[in-house]
Assembly symmetry: C2
Amino acid sequence: MKRYEQVAQAISERIEQSYYQAGERLPSIRDVSKTFEVSISTAQEAYRLLEDQGLAEPRPKSGYYVLNRQKAPQQLPDVSRPVQRPLEVSQWEEVLNLLCANTSQDIVQLGRAIPDLEAPTLKPLSRIMSDLNRYAQSSILSYEHLRGSDKLRLQIARLMVDSGCRLHPDDIITTTGCQEALSVSLRAISQPGDIIAVDSPSFYGSMQAIKAHGLKALEIPTHPETGISLEALQLALEQWPIKAIQITPTCNNPLGYTMPVEHKQRLLEITAPYDLPIIEDDIYGDLAYHAPRPPSIKSFDNEGRVLLCSSFSKTLAPGLRVGWVAPGRYVNQVIHMKYVVTASTATLPQVAIAEFIAQGGYERHIRKMRTQYQQSRDAMIGWIEKYFPQGTRISYPQGGFLLWVELPVEIDTVMLNERTMALGVCIAPGVLFSASGKYRHCMRLNFTDRPSERNERAVQIVGEEIRKMTQELTKVTV
Amino acid sequence: MKRYEQVAQAISERIEQSYYQAGERLPSIRDVSKTFEVSISTAQEAYRLLEDQGLAEPRPKSGYYVLNRQKAPQQLPDVSRPVQRPLEVSQWEEVLNLLCANTSQDIVQLGRAIPDLEAPTLKPLSRIMSDLNRYAQSSILSYEHLRGSDKLRLQIARLMVDSGCRLHPDDIITTTGCQEALSVSLRAISQPGDIIAVDSPSFYGSMQAIKAHGLKALEIPTHPETGISLEALQLALEQWPIKAIQITPTCNNPLGYTMPVEHKQRLLEITAPYDLPIIEDDIYGDLAYHAPRPPSIKSFDNEGRVLLCSSFSKTLAPGLRVGWVAPGRYVNQVIHMKYVVTASTATLPQVAIAEFIAQGGYERHIRKMRTQYQQSRDAMIGWIEKYFPQGTRISYPQGGFLLWVELPVEIDTVMLNERTMALGVCIAPGVLFSASGKYRHCMRLNFTDRPSERNERAVQIVGEEIRKMTQELTKVTV
Ligand SMILES: Cc1ncc(COP(=O)(O)O)c(C=O)c1O
Ligand SMILES: Cc1ncc(COP(=O)(O)O)c(C=O)c1O
């Protein structure tokens, strides 16, 4: 990184962290030059970069100002109001339906969370895998170390610096996707019957892990822009013997929000008296639209309480099944669980990804994807506003490729999905994201693909079916 | 398969199943010709093949006789006598030590169960993987179906016909190695606190899964040639509320025996009144030295009670992490567990293995490995007899590449391993294979490599250290 880029990054971090507020005047070029001990022209270049990044704007004769943060142009979903007591997770049938849905090319897949796999920036990874098979046969056919490939863990430790974490490679264990990371983390810190607090709506994979391990989920009200309600969580902590917290605070699935930095810090504070483990799912973190990516909760954790779970499934490709967990003080329990569950993670993809990152391929790919997904988000929101009925609410993702849509309450999205599937469009019904079958009038859509007529048409089909359902319902009522 | 091969196979199956006993006269050429409706010369060819396979011998003027089964030339270990009550599994530290042992090329690895990865018959598999990465990028980067690759499940169903199982591909779920198959099977059929009956000594991976899932192991006395004692099991069933049985009945790890067919059938009978699930680990089954391979317990199961677990880790390569489970009537629970644990199995190795099997590569490789491992077994047993002290007992594997050595009781193999590691040889101490730290004077050795001076020297080193330990102990006592 060049010097002016470092300076720009330091300033942008302060903006991200609201140290400099929207509309506020930023330090003068001269001040920046002094503070960072750089030349005037380097300070100027730094500000020009911030301007390009949409973070600062110059005002004639008065210097640079923090640009007003982009606001959601659309109406956002309500703060969620899940059932406020621990529940056994249901909805497995519905999840299974989605997982086993027809994946043929004829169907527009707005339901599953699969990244763009046609990106040219992924090609070098395939080439590396191809070569490894030719030239390193017996080493890639052998078991990897229990903790995972040394080379890969080194690269992951390097990547995690971007999220504010300074870890040793031995603090990291690779896994068969983020799902294994979540599953072994849950098992490592709880016993059947325990209560796990979760954001809500919440990723169905971790909810089903809670179910399978005999745990109960306590869904906490969640804000569509700032995430889990800390007030509600605090009350819940006083009321219930909560054993751990499991959330996706950065580029959330399904809502797309990123918890503000102060909230992340505060979450650590309010859980400190209970010495509570926090399972932080960071799988979409590197796909935040604005660089530098937001810090993880783990980056503020001095007590080893955070088990950070992630994978390359969304940033690179899910079929590789390579993820990781940085389990903090629970490392021994996690290693035991990891061993009994899969013994070790497949060798080839680990070695290949390590090489891909080392060659700079990961960074290049991510940079490209961030821009692409942000553009697709805007197109997708435009289509939804155009084709869906009045009163539709849409979340405003800050990263990743998923958004959440709240329809008029009378629309059942499980039924809607059956109707749109028959027309060649798959969506993810909202009930999947609740322990108790809430969010029946909501759905998650992905905007992985580059905007295309085919996808616009798919959104239009969903909109039309919603309208038809509304009309049918009105008739029945009349 | 040619007609005479089919006839030979039918007769050899009856020999395997002791329908024709050792030393008994086999049907005449004329009878065979009539029974199988083949020509006299085809019947003659069939017998010649059986002669080549070492199953039948001609006696002048009197026809063919069942050859006396090859007997172990050495003294076998005793029937095991584990603690006869349910126990929490210990020994994790010891297992971890082995898993994390130095794997450098400088150390002769007699401790781990890794197949020969340099075999030329594996090369086509690497070539297939290399090509897939070049020509099928986006499909192999995507999530596989939850149940696994359709193509691979079809091929697995075909392979399993050899073990007597007629399954539909949908009866099979692919997993991240056999370890995941065992782990999800255990979880699917038990609750924490339940008792699982196991053969003893037993593979440490499944024992640690029992531990991690909060279950108790009840170790059943086991015979070094015929496997788990059915009498002891029956008594245990009367005495304890056993929830399931977990065994490796074919080419057992660590002992190498294969349970006789009648025992496999009888096991199903005595567990029927309890409607007990049986987790059958068949990972070495295809590596039985005599073709056709022995039938699995699952092949006799009409009630869907057997969960068959296996993988390509021993037959092909462990780094691929591709296994499977055929869970019988427990399929729904197993699918849920599989989903929450790893979501799906890596795509590339599944597709590649399917192609490798379809091209005939699997069969060619297995045929070669069976012969190679049998030769290595004989070399290994020769070395042990040459270099180990009098009174050493050695198991007589019928397949795979592992054997079990019982030393004089005063030898502690954990200490022995520390000493031999310092001299560049790694062994697997016996305590790993017991819930309660039994078998301290035993060890498991692998004979994966082709016989070599280096490996003979390694066995010699172990033998010398045993002698030294014996001398040191005698001194102390005097
Ligand atoms: C938030 C979240 N966590 C975890 C996962 C599972 O990831 P992986 O495919 O790496 O197991 C997903 C995949 O959809 C996800 O969206
Ligand atoms: C009997 C037995 N079962 C299961 C396993 C685990 O196999 P995998 O590497 O396919 O998970 C092993 C590996 O050592 C084994 O010996």
